[in-house]
Amino acid sequence: MMRNLAAGLAGLIFGLGLVIAQMTNPAKVLAFLDIFGAWDPSLALVMGSALAITAIGYRLAWRRAGPVLGGEFALPSASQIDVRLAAGAVMFGAGWGLVGLCPGPALTALTIGGPPVWIFGAAMLAGMVAFRFLPAAGAKPA
């Protein structure tokens, strides 16, 4: 139960961060991607700030033998750079650029964005379901 509550608290903080940074506003995200238009570099600072804290915090966390609430540190073991990785990133980048929502902000905006976010979220889930049931793609754990 403590692990669940810790995860809930971390999720809440993540969502608050997205809202404060206005990453839940697709117009803000698209303005970052619009480098030849009225460019808004804010998202670069969001990423930079999050990265700096995470890079330092992870290393502090890893000084312990394991997580505070038990279990082990579960880190991705995949290291190969393959077509699958690149193709997935191309598809994600295209969808992100079309609407201005990625998975985190789409979730957090569900409560404030109304029907457009619900439609996007439903389509995003459908995309994940399609991946799960596509034998060639879903066979490998992602």
């Binding site: 810790a6 809202v19 940074a21 991607l33 389509a123």
Partner: protein, 151 residues
Amino acid sequence: MENFTPVSALAGGALIGLSAVLLMALNGRIAGISGLLGTALFGAPGDRAWRLFFLGGMVLAPLVMLLVPGEARPSLAVDITSSWPLLIIGGLLVGFGTRLGSGCTSGHGVCGLSRLSARSLIAVLVFMAVGMVTVTVMRGSLASLIAGGAS
């Protein structure tokens, strides 16, 4: 750059980083939202609970913001101009693409880069570049820049 908001961007990013660190320090897990979603949906029952708590916290966050007094409250605007077909195509691409590529802006962008993962670096460079190209094409930004420069 008229809409540049450096202070809220740095503050919000710091909270995202804090969240990722907490999840690692306490539970030993990566805060990658597309992965959390995919596993919460299709993973073994024992893998689901904490993920659903994390995702639930994310969904509730804007409601907590509503408790903040009006003047101090950050903007809760969600400005979407995309048509319904574009929303659906975009959602499908994001859902399928993040699972195929094993991550999104949080998993690859924040957690992966901070672990110095080469895979994540490639993924981030690719999705950032494709996102920028997509917006530039959709808005005709480069064309208008060239046209504006020529006139």
